[in-house]
Amino acid sequence: MPSGPLLERQFLEKLERLTIHWQKSFNGLVGGHNTSRFAGGGQEFLDHRHFHHGDDLRAVNWRAYLRLEKLFLKMFQVEPRVPVRMLFDTSESMNSEGGFKFHYARKLAAALCYVGLVRLDTIKLQPFSSRLGEGIQCGGGRHRFSPVTEYLNELQAKGRTDFHEVVRQFISTHPQRGLLIIVSDFLDDSDCERPLQYLADFGHELLLAQVWSEEDRTPPWTGDLDLVDAETETRLRLQFDESARGQYTRAFDAYAGGLQQIAVRNGGRYVGISTAMPIEDVIFGALVRSRVIA
């Protein structure tokens, strides 16, 4: 993999004008740049309600009391500080193209973290393969970006993917709902659609970033192949030609379509990303168009 910084300085400067957006409202603390319909101690007026004993007298609408002789309490919009959570796939299947796919996914995750940090969002990055790994939480501005890159650089792709187990752990350890970004190739031999549905049903807003290398989608080999699954080491011998390649690609596209359907159906978003595309084009093209960031 290329040495040097994960993301170039010029690219980081371009990222500074972007913001992570989500579509759902989440109950949480004040902060961030996303509006919420939950009432709280914000500055934007939201509604009135009847005064109850113990309420803060500073929030009473005294003008209404003078006119109606009833105590009404002013309610304000809460600016949530719900952390943006990111699940980062570190399974063996991410090592395609001699590890380039994994490196590419690292750069994508780093770029998203930087966008969040610049806008004072709190980012929680958690790696996963068969289990949820120890993550890193960061926030407080762009100067906290360096621990994130160091953490990402130290990650290694190994182990099997088990979305069932990962989702179970995630739901049990993170009861607070919020935006959940999953950076993965979603190449789990067992079904990963159901666990994703669980997450959506739990109330998380899903942003599925499926990263694939070209050999994942269009294998370049022909002839007699002795295939070995990178995660399970299962072997498969077959003969591969142009027509088989077409069938393979169609199957891959159908799988990606299924993932997209899950995301859209639950109010989330899906972005399919080929490693052949420059990371800058992905950020300012696909992700901006899908309104993940703006």
Binding site: L227, E231, A244, Y248, S290
Partner: protein, 634 residues
């Protein structure tokens, strides 16, 4: 049909090796490939799983056959497959034309060169039109006059323009050159033809080295009725420098004894003649002595003249005896007279101080204790100059000081010895770093030499008025000063007339190699080598070459032709006379261009039909991601 570059066995071996390698690579390329993939789910869940039920050994036999055929065609092109018979291939002949000095000898009404040209032209006209001929002119040097040429008019023109040189034939070198050219040529080696009388030098090793099998000799008949000057040496007599000792070496090349007369003329006037007999095949040395101080041309003529007149006459340019004009301005000429008049070739003139003129002096000037109104315009020796007149600043005036020492590391002080010398009165000079401090007292130098455009020596005291006048060092010191100021005065000259070619001379034992220079008449340097005390240089053309080695000058007048020492006995098996070639070359035709083109086309077709599709599949497609790489959620 035959191969020009390879034999059939070599061709088959090469093609077999390439074919086997290719099939192995092909099978290896088509063998089952182990590949690690991210997942197997899409390989197996496709609607029609592409699992092979029967594995073929060779998947694309047409591709393999096309590749093999293309490589066969390319290999045939490399082997230079030709139509026709091998003997019909054009050949490369080398025609060695003898242009040694002996070729200007008369043979009847013509010269040997005319006869050799005629035979060379006859050979060129005999050679088939498709064959190539290279004309090489051979004397001491081998010079190609043309490349391998099939244009007969160019060859005939080059033969017609060939003229005899000044050196003897080096046939070994010419034959080696011809062999090398034939080996490097692209065609089939033809004949190496020597045209000439075969007169070679003693250094020739023709008998030791094997001769080329394809050698042909076109001999020209010559007569050895010749006597000539081999060399002339002229040097000044050791006893009397005004006398030239002249040594001439005369050789009789014929088979009968000869009585000859060697006549010398100097400056157009007869200078001597000697009649002598020379036995057949031997040399005779004749010595003369000629007294003259002047320079001029010395001509040597051998009478009677014969068929080869170039070596009957030699001219040498004798240099005049060098001399130096010395003018002594002194009111007491007796003090310096004995010292300066004792040096040979120095013409001393004594004048009074009042007669001094700065521009009148021609040569060296001695200024004895006076201040000249203008400094001299040439080299000068200042003796005890008045204060303020010295060309070298005076530091102090000392009385009754002991002389300390002479300098040790300069030619100016060579051989100077004195003991207990005291100077009654002397100046001590303020010398510059580059000055030579010839003599010193404890307080500083008292005799200083300064080089430059004009060389200057300043004495702080008068040697004729000090105790130095009784010392042997005084004349020796003046001798050293004159040797430093006018080195040509002491140079020993020798003149030699010889032949062009390699010249070897012995250097004096005390000669430093960095002082040796070998110059042509125009002053250009001639490359030379030294081995031990022997110096060797080569001059391919007649002319004058000067060798300067310290105080010795040798002028070589290389105007005599270099002649042969013996006749080459052509071995019995060697082909002689004009050959009879068959004109069959037209039947032979090159095919390699067509074969190379077909081979290239075959490989291109194979790539278009099979290789391109596979290559496209192996490369990561750049167009696919733009079309389907990104899927938007909405």
């Amino acid at each position: 049909m035959y191969f020009l570059n390879l034999s059939l066995a070599q061709f088959l071996a090469l093609f077999g090796a390439i074919s086997v390698t290719m099939v192995l690579l092909y099978l290896l390329g088509r063998s089952r490939r182990k590949q690690v993939v991210a997942t197997l789910r899409f390989w197996t869940v496709a609607e029609q799983p592409p699992v092979a039920h029967k594995r073929k050994r060779i998947q694309q036999p047409l591709s393999l056959i096309l590749q093999l055929i293309s490589l066969l065609l390319l290999l045939l092109a490399i082997a230079q497959l030709r139509l026709g018979m091998p003997l019909a291939t054009p050949r490369d002949h080398v025609l060695i034309l003898d242009t040694s000095a002996w070729m200007s000898a008369a043979s009847g009404n013509r010269t040997l060169m005319d006869e050799a040209r005629e035979k060379a032209l006859a050979y060129v006209r005999t050679v088939p039109a498709s064959d190539h001929v290279m004309l090489v002119l051979a004397d001491a040097l081998t010079t190609p006059a043309t490349a391998f040429e099939s244009n007969r008019s160019k060859l005939e023109q080059a033969i017609a323009q060939s003229t005899p040189g000044a050196t003897a034939l080096n046939l070994d070198q010419a034959l080696a050159f011809a062999r090398q050219e034939q080996a490097l040529g692209s065609g089939r080696p033809g004949e190496i033809v020597y045209v000439g009388p075969g007169r070679i030098t003693a250094e020739s090793r023709l008998t030791a080295a094997p001769l080329p099998k394809n050698l042909r000799v076109l001999e020209t008949a010559d007569s050895t009725d010749n006597c000539g000057l081999r060399k002339i040496g002229v040097r000044r007599s050791a006893a009397d420098p005004e006398v030239w000792d002249i040594y001439a070496s005369v050789r009789n090349y014929s088979a009968v004894p000869k009585v000859l007369t060697l006549a010398l003329r100097f400056g157009g006037a007869p200078a001597g003649a000697r009649r002598f007999a020379v036995p057949p095949g031997s040399e005779r040395e004749i010595a003369f002595a000629w007294r003259t101080r002047a320079g001029g041309l010395l001509e040597a003529n051998l009478i009677p003249h014969d068929r080869f007149s170039a070596d009957d006459h030699a001219v040498l340019d004798l240099p005049p005896l060098p001399s130096l004009n010395l003018t002594v301005y002194s009111n007491e000429p007796d003090l310096l007279g004995p010292t300066v008049t004792a040096i040979p070739r120095v013409h001393a003139t004594f004048r009074r101080v009042e007669e001094y003129r700065a521009d009148a002096a021609n040569g060296l000037v001695i200024l004895d204790r006076f201040r000249p109104p203008q400094p001299p315009k040439g080299d000068a020796i200042w003796i005890d100059p008045p204060p303020g007149a010295s060309p070298i600043p005076v530091r102090a005036r000392l009385e009754a000081v002991p002389f300390d020492h002479w300098c040790a590391d300069n030619a100016l002080c060579a051989g100077l010895r004195t003991r207990d010398l005291r100077l009654a009165s002397t100046y001590v000079f303020e010398s510059a770093p580059d000055d030579v401090k010839i003599g010193q007292v404890q307080q500083g130098p008292v005799i200083v030499a300064r080089a430059g455009k004009n060389k200057t020596v300043v004495f702080g005291f008068h040697p004729g008025l000090s105790d130095l006048r009784y010392e042997l060092a005084t004349p020796l010191l003046f001798g050293n000063i004159l040797r430093w100021m006018a080195p040509e005065l002491f140079r020993r000259s020798a003149v030699a007339a010889g032949s062009a070619g390699t010249v070897t001379m012995q250097l004096d034992p005390d000669t430093r190699l960095e002082d040796v220079r070998v110059l042509q008449q125009d002053g250009a340097s001639v490359p030379f080598t030294t081995r031990g005390r022997a110096l060797r240089f080569f001059s391919g053309t007649p002319g004058t070459v000067r060798v300067l080695a310290a105080e010795r000058e040798t002028v070589y007048s290389l105007t005599l032709p270099e002649l042969w020492d013996s006749k080459w006995d052509v071995p019995a098996g060697t082909r002689r006379g004009l050959p009879a070639f068959r004109e069959t070359a037209a039947l032979s035709r090159d095919l390699w261009q067509v074969l190379a083109l077909l081979g290239g086309l075959g490989l291109l077709m194979e790539w278009l039909l099979f290789g391109r599709a596979e290559g496209r599949a192996r490369r990561l497609p750049a167009a696919i991601p733009r079309r389907t790489g990104v899927r938007k959620a909405s």
